[in-house]
């Protein structure tokens, strides 16, 4: 891993961390969702500061160059993250749908009750 690339990774990670903390500070981001990105940035920083760790891992999996191994780790992690998000996304969509339906149906039921009460009243007066 070249020196420039390592610097780049470190700066990008630090920037990500600062940005995420800023969003939390402004109460725009839930802490549960920030944890992943903070850990991810932390791992990138560790990989950049201690390239020997990546070189060991590269040897262990039998790859040519450590940078390929960095890419592999990053791509694999991001793929997992996207996959998890797809699941969360579809669950969220279902929840919003259920909420909307429930709201609409309850409004209708309330109107039905009102109507029935009115009809009973007019029957009584007849």
């Amino acid at each position: 891993m070249g020196f420039v690339l390592r610097l780049l990774l470190i700066f990008a990670s630090l920037f990500t961390t600062l940005y995420i903390l800023k969003r939390i500070r402004q109460a725009k981001l839930q802490i549960e969702y920030a944890i992943f990105w903070l850990l991810f940035a932390g791992v990138l920083i560790i990989m950049s500061i201690f390239p020997s760790l990546m070189i060991m891992l590269t040897r262990a999996v039998g790859m040519q160059s450590p940078i390929n191994c960095v890419f592999l780790v990053v791509i694999f992690t991001l793929m997992l993250k996207i996959f998890m998000q797809t699941i969360e996304h579809s669950q969220l969509e279902d929840k919003v749908k259920q909420l909307t339906q429930r709201l609409a149906i309850e409004e209708k039921l309330r109107q039905d009750e009102k109507k029935e009460a009115m009809e009973e009243k007019s029957n009584d007066s007849v």
């Binding site: 903390l21 500070r25 402004q26 109460a27 802490i31 549960e32 944890i35």
Partner: protein, 230 residues
């Protein structure tokens, strides 16, 4: 002083009747509300049949969202304090009164703690509790002996803050944040039962990821939060 007992319930059809009936029969001086958190079993139906006070969430929000619903209700109804009370029979209602007294003395948060008078046992389950206590000690300087206790009482001031803000889950990291901001906290000895029926939500994997989240949050993230002025 009006006190609301908030009982979040997710798939607790086996325990809910015993828990609520005891409150109604022996503790009529408190108001309570069951928050059904989109259970897939008959929890909501059973509550309606028994005529319990019920807020029925149409979808599952998780404990934080369910409890916050109860706090919003407490806020709208202008309660003076609110307590989180488990639907599985772990919490004993006789400890509510001493906790309420502490709120009356002016504390913001009162924890029903297992380890005020008794010592923390040395078991795998308690390793997490030790770590969280330590993290809170380091970051806030306050000693919280039972940070994972779910039995927490909040004052009127805390109710409004919890009800209306983001990142105010009823978890140790929020407590840690509030302590740092100058909220006052105390613990009252409260022994707890094992859950009566059904399976606990906390498997080993879930506990481990919970611990990681809490530690990162308490040790790192909470230092950067800003408290909104109201």
């Amino acid at each position: 002083m009006r006190c609301l007992i908030i009982i979040p319930a997710f798939n607790e059809e086996m325990n809910i009747v015993k828990v609520v009936d005891e409150l109604i029969e022996n503790y009529p001086q408190y108001d309570y509300v069951v928050i059904n958190d989109g259970s897939s079993d008959d929890t909501a139906k059973i509550c309606r049949e028994h005529g319990y006070e019920l807020i029925d969430l149409p979808v599952n929000l998780g404990l934080a969202g369910a409890f916050q619903t109860g706090l919003k209700y407490a806020y709208i109804k202008k309660y003076d304090c609110a307590i989180q009370f488990d639907a599985d029979g772990q919490h004993r209602p006789e400890y509510i009164e001493p906790m309420r007294k502490k709120i009356g003395e002016g504390y913001d948060i009162v924890i029903g703690s297992r380890f005020v008078e008794e010592k923390k046992p040395l078991s795998l389950r308690m390793v997490g509790s030790f770590l969280l206590s330590m993290a809170m000690r380091v970051t806030t300087g306050c000693k919280v002996k039972d940070p994972t206790s779910g039995m927490r009482m909040f004052s009127r001031k805390m109710i409004s803050e919890f009800a209306l803000s983001l990142n105010y889950g009823p978890e140790p990291d929020t407590i840690s944040f509030l302590l740092k901001q100058g909220a006052t906290i105390t613990e009252v000895q409260a022994s707890m039962e094992e859950r009566m029926e059904g399976e606990s939500y906390l498997t080993f994997g879930r506990s481990a990821s919970y611990m990681l989240r809490m530690l990162v949050s308490i040790l790192f993230i909470q230092n950067f939060r800003k408290r909104k002025k109201r």
